[in-house]
Symmetry: D2
């Protein structure tokens, strides 16, 4: 099976446990319905590959361009994001038919595509892999708001996690290089590769754990303004935050809501569903700081352990690299326009599709957001 078919069919596999209604609901403005993710990723191929380059291609439905454009201003008007959950029609089945229609046309057309178009196909597949992760986190958020706590996946025994003591690794310093280079795929914002100046520092050998986070809570971490960024302190007060998202106390046990429903937390597992504000406050409490993006990336290239179970907040704002050029045309809206107010996360999570992680990857969210599988790793000046 081609990579195209692999990625496309993986999206379908993710929704095996979802009903038509599950796939339609939108839990908050930040999230999108599962059905919408399935349709939007198909709209990408239909629009940028088939419509624009395959003369005999017939649109599956003229309304879909309006319904399933996400944020590409150059592609014209689009359906208001907060109302995605009201699109009970088209149904999940119709979206599956839409996907089949697009896939059949793509499979037929791809043989004749130029290398430039094949580059766009690859972009579309990586775009779809991003949405695969969002689909899972958005379903998790939706189910977490249902008092009966549905689960997407069958509960199964969890793998044993090794309880690694916190240790410190000295990072490379001086002139170093980061950013994507070479023939592999990367998004435009990951390059160009360029030199950065790193200052002496250490980085932790693993992410912060649930058990450590409990100590932070027990020590009054959420109630002491000295640890918090000013915006973070406002957020904690206004939203009445006192634990990671999806935690609850039940009969003296701390539970977390997962894709398998409510489960007891594992003390030595990485804490997740925390905001940048919480990550930064924890680091301050622990007399440490967050690593910069460059420190993290260089460390990862040098073999940083325990990457990939949670996205790790860095202390770096999401801003363009020196020499950054957005891609031409509508797909150029993909990354550059989001470069204000957000922080970079590195690594990947349990929800990241296999093959989609790379050290140069720049994930980004606003500092208050935490419905993704987000955690942190400490760093220190030396």
């Amino acid at each position: 099976m081609s990579k195209f078919e692999n990625v496309r069919s993986h999206s379908i596999s993710l929704i095996a446990g979802l009903s038509d209604a599950d796939s339609t609901a939108q839990s908050m403005d930040d999230a999108s319905p599962a059905k919408w993710h399935l349709a939007h990723t198909s709209w990408f191929f239909e629009t940028f590959l088939l419509r624009d380059n395959v003369s005999e291609y017939r649109l599956f439905d003229d309304d879909y361009a309006f319904l399933f454009n996400s944020y590409y201003e150059a592609e014209g008007a689009r359906h208001a994001r907060p109302e995605r959950g009201l699109l009970t029609r088209p149904s999940l089945q119709e979206i599956l038919d839409y996907r089949a229609h697009v896939d059949a046309a793509m499979v037929e057309a791809m043989d004749g595509f130029s290398s430039q178009l094949l580059g766009l196909v690859e972009l579309g597949l990586h775009h779809e892999q991003q949405h695969q992760e969002l689909l899972l986190t958005d379903i998790l958020d939706l189910f977490s708001r249902n008092p009966i706590g549905p689960s997407l996946l069958e509960p199964k025994p969890r793998p044993a996690i090794i309880d690694t003591p916190l240790g410190w690794i000295e990072g490379a310093s001086g002139v170093q290089s980061i950013g994507h280079e070479g023939n592999g795929f990367a998004f435009d914002c990951e390059g160009p590769r360029h030199e950065v100046m790193l200052h002496p520092h250490m980085i932790a050998n693993r992410p912060v754990t649930n058990g450590e986070w409990q100590a932070f809570i027990a020590d009054g971490g959420y109630r002491d303004p000295r640890h918090w960024l000013s915006d973070g302190w406002s957020w904690v007060q206004e939203q009445n935050i006192h634990a990671p998202l999806h935690w609850r106390e039940r009969d003296g046990v701390t539970e977390e809501f997962t894709l398998q429903g409510w489960r007891e937390i594992i003390l030595c597992a990485p804490v997740r569903h925390i905001s940048l504000f919480e990550a930064d406050a924890y680091a301050s409490w622990a007399d440490a700081r967050l690593p910069t993006e460059a420190e993290w990336e260089v460390a990862a290239e040098n073999g940083l352990p325990d990457i990939g179970s949670v996205w790790e907040w860095t202390g770096s704002a999401y801003r363009p690299y020196p020499g950054f050029q957005a891609a031409e045309g509508a797909v150029g809206e993909y990354n550059g326009k989001f470069m204000s107010g957000q922080f970079v996360l590195k690594g990947g999570s349990v929800a990241t599709p296999s093959g989609h992680m790379r050290h140069s990857y720049r994930n980004f969210f606003y500092p208050h957001q935490r419905w993704q599988f987000t955690g942190l790793r400490l760093a220190k000046d030396i």
Copy 2:
């Protein structure tokens, strides 16, 4: 078939065209999902009849009391209203099973019910009939927000409407009586029957029509503050209101969104989906006023024509009648606690279940609300 079975099965018939997703979505805070209406009306019977009076009755699901209580404070905590659309589980099928479970228990138990309990059953059925109308208006609102404009019902030829010229009927004046009396069912707020003083006035022979409303628009009615209540003028400006809800212009034709989808308006049909603010402004523009509730009810008892296609806004605030007593217990929360800020509407609409209209009925909504089938009829002092 008993009245119980009639009413209960009629609810099911309303959702014949709805998918699981259609029945789950909530278009705005004022509306509820169709599935929720089906469940909540069953919760009423399960709670107030079965749970409280049938010792061998087993709750269908312990969580449902929390999920499907609407506003009965005496019945404890309940799910937040604006999040009803996130309840993708239980599914529509499970709710249908819930209904069957409750219905079977009710049918078995009703034979042994006291007349007091049978009174509660009747209350429950009238309560369900209210929700039947809401279910339709809420689906209409949901579908109206979908750019592809789905329809609940098959389009069919519309009955010819007679174009009746506006005429005036002199109303009864002096001491008159309104309010429910006698053995038939009525909600607590419809009584007691009591004397009122009516002053000389005339009332129109039919509701205001779409064609008349177009004249109001053409004359700048939505842009002239002199016609508007102060709160209404703020609402018009802030919400950028310039026509009834669900109207659009398409190629020079005025269309309205209906349960059969988008259709051209019929000029001589009653205008609908207007707020009290709009109704009041229209009346002012037409050198008339809204009838009071008492004027309307006395006129209806005396044979007022053309009642029942739209709920007619009156100029009366929804407040208790002299001697009003709320029913005892949780069901006593049914009406009295809503008696601030709302206006009374009389009559009934195309969505009102047959047998559910009566002259003493007091429908009530806030002056800005218009997703119901709401219209107006003029009155005048003489």
Copy 3:
């Protein structure tokens, strides 16, 4: 001194203790700066009397029409209400000069006014008396929000208040008349006098007291949803209301903020600064109800005791009387357009200018508002 000079100079006397800054600040959208009240009441005379009827009159300042129009849409654009507190210029002294300029022109011109214009002058004076009360309540609200609690008036010994036991007076029933009639001044909304039907009832011999209100609080009145209107319960929860406005506990003593600063409450004095929601909940808790406007007015005409220390919430929505006609022209916007969502209050308060109370007076506020001197008196069906 003429009535004109009397009323106008009384306004000035009210601000004796205010600084330029005190007179400029606006504590909330509902309130206006003292300086604005002084200017707006002058704008009324300048606009409707001098500008429109005295050919040689010269406007004091061309900008003032824009700055000091309140809500007369017919008079054109006006300054946004919530920004009144930003008008640090013109200064208080300039507004006093403006008043002197207008007063001089008025005194000179009034001799030649027709009786119709003299009627407008009288309207302007009653309008100014309304603003005299608002000026005091708005200053009270402003000072209450200042942590150092300034006082407008010198503290002086409070008159002894007789502790009257609660008693009940049987009200007149059957056909009665209310509304203004005769030659004295009244606002348009107070008439026409008309017959109403009253049902058997009793009305209390005095308003509810602070001591009784403490019993309501002690009995959990603010925490029991059964007593509350639905909108009132939402308001109590969202605003975290648990006592009348301007109450605080200090060393076991209940204090209220007054124009003399913080003072201990007097148990037998009428409770004040309560909303309609609180008044209605108290009445429900006390197994009583609020009187209707008609019950209150008929009782007042029959000698109801203890009127005039607090505005008394009635259970009647503020809606037009039968045969109501708004005055012609811009001054016709005075009352009619506020007839949605508000409740009528009757009587008068300690802040009402002497000579400004009459039984037909219809004061009106929204059910959540309580920065006026608002209280309640109980009634009961019999």
Copy 4:
């Protein structure tokens, strides 16, 4: 006169044209009253120097700590920021007395201060200089919202501005150093001095001018989403932004609101009162970008011309330098806690007190803010 007396008396000189009311009003949450600035800067000396270190010092007023703390969490509860404009008392005169009281105590005590305390005094003076600039921009904002457009300063002829053609200067690249070093004063966030890696680039010889901005407007710059950051585009749409703050068209002439009132813009003068969003959009439209903070600072050390008339937005997020340590104690809250969501501005403006500009200075604001004298200078990769 000592530096202490110089700086303190300069604050007083700024308010020469202000009334008690002018000094009390607060135009928006971001701004503070002039009186508050005068009091808060005195509170700094009273609290951190006198109260904590001078045993015989007597607080001027016990309430002032609560009223005039700005954001020092360690110093306890404080008055809510958006209500600063309600503090009509204490009066401006009382605040001037407060200043005199603090100044007298400081002048007497400073002779005996240790060098560590003298360092705190210097911090307090730089803090006061920051507030001197804010005082002016806040008054400008207040007066701009008054329809009669008051002016703080007498209009005087404006100095001729040389119309410099846009030119490009090649910046230094490779390993460079930025950040404060040496004996002079700097805030904690300006250091430590450290090496950075700069990439080849050019920087403009002067800020963007009003005339150039008009060309951006004329070319539809505010209506073309391609130029805008995503958050910026939302801001432009929601706030209906179409020109710099304080611009208006009057009879075909573009005017700007200044401390001398409304004046025609000067085409060759730097554009000001623009947000980071606007600056970034302009740069994109001009096929350029904003300089990074490091590029700007290195260029400034190398003699960049035309610095100091407007604060220049950089493309750098306000984040800590490598090795940054916040100062100990309450004053350590000064800078570090604001390091999320804000961008750095460099240089200084017409409102910056003389002697307060330095190349390492890091001013910071949120990307939508523009009530300061903010402009931009272009840069380009080469």
